[in-house]
């Protein structure tokens, strides 16, 4: 399978990329690691006139500290996120979810920002980004603006970015010392989550002081499991309290039905996986 013909641009700075995108118009497409886009192009589900490759923009790669936050460059590969000690220490949930993305070859090439901008509801980084209240810094011809995670994901494969904007970095508040786990259920030969649960907990003494739980693929966008969070806070993490909290997992969700399972199946999965995620985080 061969993509339809396109022009190819590989700018070396973000400013150039933004300008080229503005000039090329709505039929252009930005390519990051290309691990989702290239299959789409090969199957001719999309046929952009111009492909703007960000992989030569060195400024978009890497992880740095900025006060109480980490700043992850959009073009940082999954492989580099996985191995980054800052991410492991201050945003363990993101590192754990990244460990489960696709397979090693795809993680070498695929990028943190590309995966988020693609906004596939089965993608594993969306729910952790939502649960951790990440902020998305996007660049356009008028400069940069910051979008909160709960406003960034709009619908299936749709974000709050305009066609002429580029995601350049993601700001992650530090969750140093929090316990975390990402639990997903997928077919062995296909790494897309049928359902995934991202859980981060702050424990004070024997009780859960704060809880953040996000769900993958339980709606057209990632969802916060607020009912679970509320039920966990103040509790000791016992099998009974975790099971009771997990019963709230599917509240407010609208899971889709497809070849991997119907809505009822996903609802049950969300509860089971939430219990597993919280249990695993507590015993980590």
């Amino acid at each position: 399978m061969i993509p339809a013909a396109f022009d190819y641009q590989a700018p070396t700075t973000l400013d150039d990329a933004v300008r080229i995108l503005a000039d090329a118009g709505e039929d252009a497409k930005v390519i990051a690691g290309g691990q989702s886009l290239l299959p789409v192009l090969r199957m001719r589900l999309a046929a952009p006139t111009v492909l703007i490759d960000l992989s030569r923009c060195a400024e978009l790669r890497g992880v740095r500290e900025d006060g109480g936050s980490l700043v992850i460059g959009a073009m940082t590969t999954h492989y580099d996120v996985q191995g980054d000690h800052l991410v492991r220490e201050h945003a363990a949930l993101l590192a754990m979810a990244t460990d489960t993305v696709a397979d090693p070859q795809v993680r070498h090439r695929g990028t943190f920002g590309g995966s988020l901008a693609h906004a596939d509801p089965a993608g594993d980084l969306l729910a952790p980004a939502l649960a951790l209240d990440c902020e998305f810094v996007v660049a356009g011809m008028d400069g940069r603006r910051t979008v909160a995670a709960n406003e960034f994901f709009v619908d299936y494969f749709t974000t709050a970015m305009a066609w002429n904007e580029i995601l350049c970095e993601v700001r992650v508040p530090k969750y140093t010392g929090w316990l975390a786990h990402y639990e997903k259920f997928n077919r062995v030969a296909q790494a897309w989550s049928i359902v995934g649960v991202a859980a981060a907990l702050r424990v004070d003494g024997s009780r859960i002081a704060e809880a953040r739980v996000g769900l993958t693929n339980m709606a057209s966008v990632p969802v916060r499991a607020r009912g679970v969070e509320d039920a966990l806070v103040g509790e000791e993490a016992t099998p009974e309290s975790i099971r009771a909290a997990a019963e709230h997992a599917a509240e407010g969700t609208s899971p889709t039905a497809d070849g991997d399972g119907d809505a009822e199946y996903r609802t049950q999965l969300a509860k089971v996986l939430t219990g597993r995620a919280v249990t695993a985080a507590m015993t980590a």
């Binding site: 022009d7 290309g34 290239l38 490759d53 696709a102 090693p104 070859q105 296909q190």
Partner: protein, 180 residues
Amino acid sequence: MRITMTVDGTKYTDDVEPRMLLVHYLRERLGKTGTVVGCDTSNCGACTVHLDGHSVKSCSVLAVQADGCEVTTIEGLARDGRLHPVQQAFHDNHALQCGFCTPGMIMQAVDLLADNPDPDEQAVRQGLEGNLCRCTGYQNIVRAVRDAAQKMSPGAGPEAEQVADETAEATKLSRAEVQS
């Protein structure tokens, strides 16, 4: 668009269409048919090569994206007529039946061993999760990778494959020579 890349130690310069996939460039322009196309949906891993020392699925990389990079294919692993230890281990352990997944399996196994020189069975299975085999049930593949790990000195892997510029220059072939 003009691109230059070093493939298995030899530098090539070619004009390609931007839409040409790396795997098609390797197979159809350079004649390196050792790298195969399996699923064409980036699922099976048969087309795995190393791009600047890391495994990638060459059906999901454009040739123009590899401009200026170093590529190693299954055809570049053997040295002086001797199989790479992972190739030898696949042979010794009968880690293939039809052989179609083998180039990708071996390239990914070499990458895995560079990151983890002594993987247990679980680590091998996880490291090869992006490679599908329809024949073997994976048993002998896992055995071969662990066998290779024992026989390889630490540090062998993608780094060991990096060919020094001088060597690349010395073995430089013109396109005409390659095609003849």
